[in-house]
Amino acid sequence: MLHTVSEDRFRRMKKTGSIHYNMEIKKNLAEVVDKFPDNPIGMQYFYKRFEKFLDGDDNSFKNKKVIASMCIHVPLELIYAVRAVPVRICSGAYSMDQIGTEFLPAKTCPMVKSTLGAIYLDILPGNIDPVLIVNPATCDQKKKMGELGEELNSPLYMLEVPPTKDTEEARRYWHRVVKKFVKKLESVTGNKITRRSLKKAILMVAKAQAEYRRFNQLRGMAPVIYGKDAILLTNAYFFDDIERWTQKLYELNNELDNRVKERKYVGRPNSPRILLTGSPSIFPNMKLPVLIEELGGLVVYEEFCSTSRMIWDTVAVDEWFLFDMIPAVADRYLKPSTCPNFSPNNDRKRKILKGIKEFAIDGVIYQTFTGCQLYDMESRMVGHYVEKMGIPTLFIESDYNPDDSGQLITRLEAFLDSLKNKK
């Protein structure tokens, strides 16, 4: 290993790191679960999954190769089609963020640093041992992180993502990148993608998508679930067995459907309905949604790459052969993405507008991580756009450090109160 610290220090880092990480999980999960009354019974499964977040007692990965991914631009269907399991390792742990500071400047995005730290110490969700870590070259931080593979002694693979998605040139380029990625997957896993296996994979993901869309429909109908739960369960999509996840979401949806009928709502009648957007909230960093909902807001829609952007969009194939299926899957991971690394990114504005309309939003809260330039830069554009529609917006710059919650509470309280008064 080429890393800069002595082996002894590395061992100590790993030991303390995992202790801190576990403490963080326990504490933050307790905040998500215990502070709120009558959580849906269907959520219990997801809470339990997060209790065992780092342990490897999950049987779904048994005898299967794991491909770790970092962004929403990694085509999951292709990974399932080579009979491997994708696990998204984007990390929200403050303890890992501190480790990542060893490699990247202190003012880098905490999500990248945290993920880097987790890879370095090999403390990944589900205790996985990935044969490949796919790192899409999206933002600058991710790009530079991709160069650290050797130093981290981990199989980082750079998936080239075009800087724009609107042109046909970018699309063709992306198709070629994905084809190359297929070859890589096949060589790493030793399995070939076949028509059958890819069909099956597309169907499997489509089922999850259909269920997730139903979940959003229910959320739009009535305030039956807290946003923190919604974020948590989409976070579980990162690492959970997809078929089980779909099944559990199906059960939860049925419960929520009953709640809609029984008018069993969460929050108060005058709770401001909030749309969250910006840098993604990833467990255990649930600081912002938990604070908002503790203070009487209600997050009803999130435009995050850890939630709706990841699962929402679907694959449509015209001819069910590999020559059409692979580009179809590729398109799904490029065209509808609203990642700010694409320029222009008007789709993001339109998506937020759609969210505001469909979910009857009262206010938008825009989260930016310190060092996350792209979201920071887009905040002005999005802010203007949203304000023009008469929807108040609150910008919050924060990171994984829990110390700023006092200050956050003051700002959130003021914002939410102003929204309540308007209602």
């Binding site: 046909e168 429909q217 199906y250 929402w312 679907t314 449509a316 015209d318 020559f323 309309k357």
Partner: protein, 340 residues
Amino acid sequence: MKANKKIIKYINNTNLSRFRFWFQIFSFIIFVYGSYFLIDLGQNIPTFACPYNPGSPGTCFLISIQHQMHTTWSALFSWRGVGFLTSLLSFVLFFVLFNKAWCGFMCPLGTIQDWITKLRNRLGIRFSNYDEKSFKKLSWIKYVLLVLLVFIPLAIANSIFGLPKVSHDMMSPFCQICPARIILPLFSGDTSQIFINFRSTVTLVMSLLAILVLALFFIGAFVKKRFFCFFCPMSALQYLFSKIGILRLTKVGDKCTRCGNCSRVCDMGILSIAEDVTSVNVVTDNCMMCFKCVEACPEEGCLDVKVLNFKLFSSTEEGFFKRFNPAGDSKELPPSNQKI
């Protein structure tokens, strides 16, 4: 009201492509064998009902134009012009009913191309598509053909700019190279249209060109979906009146995520259907209104097929997941949510 909702849901969940497949067979029989059933639809049909085919129930409007343009200027601007205008009017009346769905649902030549596509699909051979640049360039050809098929007959009857008149052998110039003239009679057992005419240089060139176009038609359709439609002057002529069609394909731009599903499945490879988020009417000159895009759209009510303002068929989540289910079995998907 509940029954009404059920019907709407049933319609939006249907596999429209399957319906189209059977509808195309039905209209193929009408437009190729119609006269045997004593059907007569007149001389201004806005699709390839080819009179060279003994079974045809009428005449394609393109042939009417070519004939009526074969006249002197003075005649054209006298009462004879009124005759042309009436036939144009009856073409438009036919056309406004179904708009460009004449191409997607009724054109026999289009249907044959779709069958060739099905054959290729069976064989598992990949298709190809134009890139954006060629798409734009090639889109012009149909307008050029349309202008030529109007002006060549005029140039036969008149001297334009004092130039000598065009040879009489150029009569109905488009029909001379049209693949429908050769293919459709074959379905009635008439092989007389397969010929090379050595009578004059003009007929020789035109009949050779026809064979070439015929070959291109079959090879092209095997390589690219709806290859010929790209160059079809009927499609160009129809588009001139498309705005007044009562059958409409509309889009609600705000609901679009630009995922590109619609343009992916488009047989004509139209990209603007996905990219354009401001237009309401999304029928372009290359569109044949097959409505595959509506089938492939997973956003609720983003793309609609309307008759005037009445929604006939809309894109829905549920319908999407039913249709684009590779297992082909809708039961495998979790039951849908019932809105209250």
